[in-house]
Each structure stands twice: as structure tokens, then as C-alpha cells.
């Protein structure tokens, strides 16, 4: 029941936006409320898991929410709720400045709700084919959202996104077909052969060579969508050109939904070819992403692109974690939640910066703490969290990750990771310092536009602090359950 509610709520919220003759603030309120209710449903799924059950519905568990799905559903719906709640007022102000019209605003809510629904379907579908269909669905739903504010740059970003994203996902389908082929060869045609639970059960008997080939396609394919280097090329463009609420959802949740798909397949591959193979590939791509982010963050001139490259960094860290055994997996999951909270906070706050300064360039933004004291403070919190400083959640997960690396007997790898993190830290901090302090440009009017609009962002700060100070006991148990799902 909860599972059905989780998926139907955002779909239902798309309906008023679709049929209304014109945009009305109630459309925005409905969407925010629907994703809030979806968050409650996800909490319900988490609670069911903590009580030892795995909610499922449909023939042979068509929809299924184990611990891992519950964590992802919480991330997706939580980020969506905050983004839509904050976005309601923000987008209306953009419209009032002439950046949008009512028709496009209405379209925003149709597509955004579909976007949320496809992400939620991707993380709760038991059938890996349906999971694939849903991930591809996210590309289609978001393609028009990036270019919502019709500009040349946004159009360029959308084209790269849809083309590269569709091709990446198509390659993931090759991997899916190969996995299915392997199953059919060994077990014969079974009605639910593409169900993850069935695949995972059969995987020890599958052909290792075929599974290895399948995983290459899976990792490159879904990895494209997750923004792993070197398939990341679309990401900085799309995440920086999209409107703030969409940037927040794409960075905070869409990337990890794609990584989730990789993790599901990793379980099957690990059981078939033994641990190590998939992990080594994940470490390779994770490290490549870290290197790329470290090199390109130094010379960023736009703050939204800076945040986008920081997403490449953090996805890389999560990849490393997934490749470093059970403790690393736990760290990756904790990191995922912390990253979702901090990156969505940073992107939403950057929307206010763009509004006040009228420019995405770091060089044009000076004295944020004086011009927008609240937004500036929130941006600072998000940035410090992203840099992995205490007392925020990402500090805990990064320490855990490094420990997992040393315990896994990879001191050299961890040395490299730490060096890269320091490089990223320094360049990020330099940009941040220039933006927050200094004398604001004369033509920028100081003062928050709508301080109460910032209220939803308090949720992100609370999550970051809770994760950083003491990880709440039920959450830790849920994360352990989720990490257990990923154990071969």
C-alpha cells in the first residue's frame, strides 16, 4: 500500500498541473505537499524494514522496497520536497522578473512530478528491466526542465544531456540484456527472470565471463547518468544551466539513483564472478572522477559549475566506498544522504545568489554575507559540509570511508584519495572565500528578498547536523540493512 502511495502521489500531483488552464500557486503547493507525503510513505517503508519486513506488491514482488530501496526513496522524496517547497516561491519570483512565463511554470510542475515519480519507480522496481525503463524516463522528463529559461547555453546543455544520457542508458540496456541472456542460458526462460531477487538468487551459477562483460556495459551506461568521469561531460553543463530546484534534484538524487542501479547489478556480478571484480572497476572510475574534479575545480569561474564538479567528486567517493567492502558500502550510503542534503542546500541557495547578483560568475559575486545574510550563511554551511568538515554528516562518512580503505589493505589508494581531497578543499575554499566576503558590487541591493522562503532549507541543515553529531540509531540500523542488501 505504501509502495503504491509512494509512486502515485507525485503522479497525482502532476494531474492538476496538466489540466489547469493556467498556472496557479496551488499547483506548486500540491506538488510540494505530494512529495512531502511521499517522504512520509518512504519513512513508512523504512519503518517496515526496521521491523524485519520487506514491503512488496504485485506478482513475484513487482515493486519491492528492501532497506536499500527505502534509503533511496527517502533521499529522492526528501530532496524533492525541499526543492519544490523552496522552488514554489523562487520560481514565481523568476517569473515576475520575466525569466519564465505561466505556461512554462505549469509545464515545470508537470515534468518535475513525473521526474520524481520515475526516480521513485527506479528505486522500487524489482524488475531490473523496469528499473532501466524508469532511469531512461528520468532523462526524458528532465530534458525540457534544463532549458526551462530558454537561453543558448541552456539549449546547448539540454542537447548534450539528452544525447549523452540516452546513449549511456542504451549501453546499460546492453548490459541488462547480457545479464538476462546469462540467466536464460543457465536456468531457462522463467517468467520473472529479470527480477532482481530472482537474478540474485541464481547468480552464483551464472557464467562469469558474460557477467563481467555485462557489468562493463552496466557501469559505463549507468555511470554516464551518474556523472562518473570520463562520461561526466554533460553534467557540469546540465547541472549549472538548470533552474535551482532541478539542479538540486539532479545533483542530490538523480545521480545516486543511477549509482543505485549499478549497485544492484554489483550484487549479481559479485555472486557470479566473486568479489573484487566489480569493486576494482568501481574504484577505478571513482578515482578517475576524484582526479577530474580536483583538476577542474581550480579554474572554475561559475559557482554553479563549481557545485556540479563537486558532485562528480562526491559520486566518485561513493563509488570508491561501494568498492571497499561492507564498511565502505556503509560509508557510501551515509555519504549519499549527507551529499543529498548539502548539495541540494547549496544549489537552492545558489538560486538566490543568481537572483540577487544576476550572474553565475564567481568574479561577480562579492560580499554575500552582507547582501544576503541568511542565504549566505546557508550557502556557507552547505559548502563546509561538502568540504567534509565537522560537525556535518559528510565528515563522518569520509572518515569512515578512509578507514574502510585502510582496513581493506589499500593505504596507497587512500593516500591518493586524501591528497585529492585536500586539493579540492583548497580550491573550493578559495572560491568560497572570494564570494562570501569582500565588498558587494554597488548595483546589488542588500537584503533578503523573502527570508521565510528559506525555511524549508532548515531541514537540510538539521539532517547535516544530525548525521555529523550522532547518527540517529534507527537510521544507522536502516543503513546497515541497506548495506546488508549489497553484501554478496
Amino acid at each position: 500500500m505504501l509502495l503504491v502511495a509512494l509512486l502515485l502521489l507525485p503522479l497525482a500531483a502532476a494531474v492538476p498541473a496538466l489540466v489547469a488552464p493556467r498556472y496557479h500557486p496551488s499547483i506548486a503547493a500540491t506538488s510540494a505537499a505530494a512529495s512531502g507525503a511521499a517522504f512520509l510513505a518512504a519513512l513508512g517503508l523504512a519503518r517496515a524494514n526496521l521491523r524485519g519486513g520487506v514491503p512488496s506488491i504485485g506478482p513475484e514482488e513487482f515493486l519491492r522496497a528492501d532497506g536499500l530501496s527505502a534509503v533511496l526513496a527517502l533521499v529522492v522524496s526528501g530532496v524533492a520536497c525541499v526543492s519544490l517547497w523552496f522552488g514554489a516561491g523562487y520560481l514565481e519570483r523568476v517569473r515576475d522578473h520575466g525569466g519564465l512565463d505561466d505556461a512554462r511554470l505549469r509545464r515545470f510542475y508537470v515534468l518535475t512530478n513525473l521526474f520524481v515519480a520515475t526516480m521513485l519507480l527506479a528505486v522500487t522496481a524489482n524488475n531490473v528491466g523496469v528499473m532501466w525503463v524508469a532511469v531512461e524516463g528520468t532523462t526524458i522528463a528532465t530534458a525540457f526542465l534544463i532549458g526551462l529559461e530558454h537561453s543558448k547555453a541552456a539549449l546547448e546543455a539540454s542537447w548534450k544531456y539528452i544525447l549523452i544520457g540516452s546513449i549511456g542508458i542504451a549501453l546499460a540496456f546492453v548490459g541488462t540484456v547480457l545479464g538476462y541472456f546469462d540467466f536464460v542460458q543457465r536456468v531457462g526462460e522463467a517468467p520473472h527472470a529479470l527480477h532482481w531477487t530472482v537474478l540474485a538468487r541464481a547468480s552464483p551459477g551464472l557464467n562469469g565471463d558474460v557477467l563481467r562483460l555485462a557489468f562493463v556495459f552496466i557501469l559505463v551506461g549507468y555511470g554516464t547518468k551518474a556523472g562518473l568521469a570520463p562520461m561526466h561531460t554533460w553534467l557540469p553543463d546540465a547541472h549549472s544551466e538548470a533552474p535551482a530546484p532541478i539542479s538540486a534534484m539532479m545533483s542530490g538524487s538523480l545521480l545516486v539513483v543511477a549509482l543505485y542501479a549499478v549497485a544492484r547489478w554489483k550484487v549479481v556480478v559479485d555472486a557470479g564472478v566473486g568479489p573484487g571484480y566489480a569493486g576494482r572497476m568501481l574504484i577505478l572510475f571513482g578515482l578517475a572522477s576524484l582526479v577530474l574534479a580536483a583538476v577542474l575545480l581550480i579554474r572554475q569561474s561559475s559557482y554553479k559549475r563549481m557545485l556540479a564538479y563537486s558532485s562528480v567528486e562526491h559520486i566518485g567517493l561513493m563509488c570508491l566506498g561501494l568498492g571497499l567492502g561492507p564498511l565502505g558500502t556503509l560509508a557510501a550510503l551515509l555519504h549519499m544522504i549527507g551529499h543529498a542534503a548539502s548539495k541540494s542546500l547549496a544549489f537552492l541557495a545558489s538560486g538566490n545568489l543568481l537572483e540577487a547578483y544576476g550572474s553565475p560568475r564567481i568574479a561577480s559575486v562579492r560580499g554575500v554575507l552582507r547582501v544576503l545574510p541568511w542565504t549566505g550563511a546557508l550557502f556557507l554551511v552547505a559548502a563546509l559540509a561538502l568540504l567534509g568538515l565537522p560537525p556535518f554528516g559528510l565528515f563522518v562518512s569520509e572518515v569512515m570511508l578512509v578507514r574502510a580503505g585502510f582496513l581493506a589493505g589499500r593505504p596507497w589508494l587512500m593516500g591518493a584519495v586524501l591528497a585529492l581531497l585536500v586539493a579540492i578543499f583548497l580550491s573550493f575554499l578559495g572560491h568560497l572565500h572570494r564570494m562570501l566576503f569582500g565588498i558587494p558590487p554597488a548595483d546589488v541591493r542588500p537584503g533578503e528578498r523573502r527570508p521565510f522562503g528559506l525555511l524549508p532549507l532548515g531541514f537540510n541543515v538539521a539532517v547535516l547536523l544530525a548525521l555529523g553529531l550522532v547518527v540517529p540509531e534507527p537510521l544507522l540500523r536502516l543503513l546497515r540493512l541497506a548495506a546488508g542488501v549489497l553484501r554478496p
Binding site: N127, G129, V130, W132, V133, E136, G137, T139, I140, A143, F144, G147, H150, K152, A153, L155, E156, A157, S158, W159, K160, I162, L163, S166, I167, A170, L171, F173, V174, T176, V177, L178, Y180, F181, D182, V184, Q185, P191, A193, L194, N207, D209, V210, L213, P236, D237, S240, E241, L296, R299, Q300, R305
Partner: protein
């Protein structure tokens, strides 16, 4: 029909699908790209019908009908309309010249044979000879996307890649379960429709569909 004959027919059909893909790399004009894509899809429909008849899989007739309706009829028609609208043909200067792209396609076919060896080895189906060719079609589609300057040609490349994947699914497993098949088909169709809308927008905004001009965003 004897399994040996059927197996040879499958290999022949897959080769034709691959050759029509490579033919796109050979030519310079968008109109020809679209014609070759339609021909490729038509050959693909024949392969599906052959497999459906031999294996007695009723679902595959439905798949064949959908591929015919969309990939042979509807999508080429839309592509021709877009091409007429955007007018100019800029494929006279692709990034990679013809001899190099055909040589690359040959190399990619060899790679496809090398990587699919474990798949062909364990497959018990008479269609297995076509599996490397199907993966080669996927690679050729990728090559079309990266070597062409026109957004429309990139769409054709994506569609060729898609045909390769669908062919792979048919040859390796007589098709994936119907719900996934339908979902995947819907995704491709929607993705294609979104892409062609963007071609119009790019044309309106940049006055060309040369993706070389889409270079405002760097690093």
C-alpha cells in the same frame, strides 16, 4: 526449416543490418542517412519475423509490428520533415572522413567479435552467429554520433545504436520480457520525439544544426 539454414539466414539478416549502418558512414547526405536507417529497420523487421516464425514466439510478431510501424514508417517520416525544415545539409564535412570511418567500423566489428566470444560460446540458440554483428551495430551507431556534426545525424546514430541493442536482445534471448520490451520501446520513442523538438529549437536559436556551434559551455 533446418536449424543450420535458419542460423545462416539470421547471420545474413544481421549482416545486412550492420551493412546498412556502415553505409551511413559512407555517405554524406542527411536524406540518405534517413533512407538507410529506414532500410536497416526494415531488414531488422524481417529478422524478427524470421525468429518469431522459427521459435514460435507470438510476442515477437507484436514487436515486429511495432518496429515496422515506428522505425520503418513513422520515425523516418518525422526525420524527413525535420530535415526539410532545417534545410541545409552540412554533412559534407564530417569530423572523420569516409575511409577512416569505414576502417574504424571494421575495427569495431572485430572488437565486437572479440568481446562477445563468451556469449556466443555458451549460447545454445541457432541465432548466436548474429550476436557479434548486433553489438557491432551498437558500436557503429556510437561512431555515427561522435563523428557527425549535424544534430539530426546524431539522432540517426542514436537510432542505429538502438536497433543494434534490439537486435542483440532478439538474437541472444528471443527478446526480453514483453513489459520491458514495451517500456524500452516507449522510452526510445519519447526520447526521439524530445530530441527532434530540440533540433527545431537549436535551428531557431543558432540558425544551424551544426553541433560544432554548440560550444559556449566549456569546463
Amino acid at each position: 526449416m533446418s536449424p543450420a539454414l535458419f542460423s545462416q539466414l539470421c547471420a545474413l539478416g544481421s549482416s545486412l543490418v550492420l551493412i546498412t549502418g556502415i553505409a551511413i558512414l559512407w555517405r554524406h547526405s542527411l536524406a540518405v542517412y534517413i533512407d538507410y536507417f529506414a532500410r536497416q529497420s526494415f531488414v531488422f523487421v524481417l529478422v524478427i519475423l524470421g525468429v518469431a516464425a522459427y521459435a514460435g514466439e507470438a510476442e515477437l510478431y507484436l514487436v515486429a509490428a511495432m518496429v515496422f510501424l515506428f522505425k520503418v514508417m513513422l520515425i523516418p517520416r518525422i526525420l524527413r520533415r525535420v530535415r526539410r525544415h532545417v534545410g541545409v545539409d552540412l554533412e559534407v564535412r564530417p569530423y572523420v572522413n569516409v575511409p577512416a570511418s569505414v576502417a574504424l567500423a571494421g575495427l569495431l566489428t572485430l572488437i565486437a567479435y572479440a568481446v562477445t566470444r563468451p556469449v556466443v560460446e555458451i549460447s545454445g540458440l541457432p541465432t548466436r552467429a548474429g550476436i557479434p554483428l548486433a553489438l557491432a551495430v551498437v558500436f557503429v551507431g556510437l561512431l555515427i554520433v561522435v563523428s557527425r556534426r549535424s544534430a539530426l545525424a546524431q539522432i540517426v546514430g542514436f537510432l542505429v545504436l538502438e536497433n543494434g541493442i534490439a537486435l542483440l536482445a532478439i538474437l541472444a534471448t528471443y527478446g526480453v520480457p514483453l513489459i520491458v520490451e514495451l517500456g524500452a520501446f516507449l522510452d526510445v520513442l519519447l526520447g526521439f520525439l524530445v530530441m527532434q523538438v530540440f533540433v527545431y529549437r537549436i535551428r531557431e536559436t543558432f540558425d544551424t544544426i551544426d553541433v560544432d556551434r554548440l560550444s559556449g559551455l566549456r569546463h
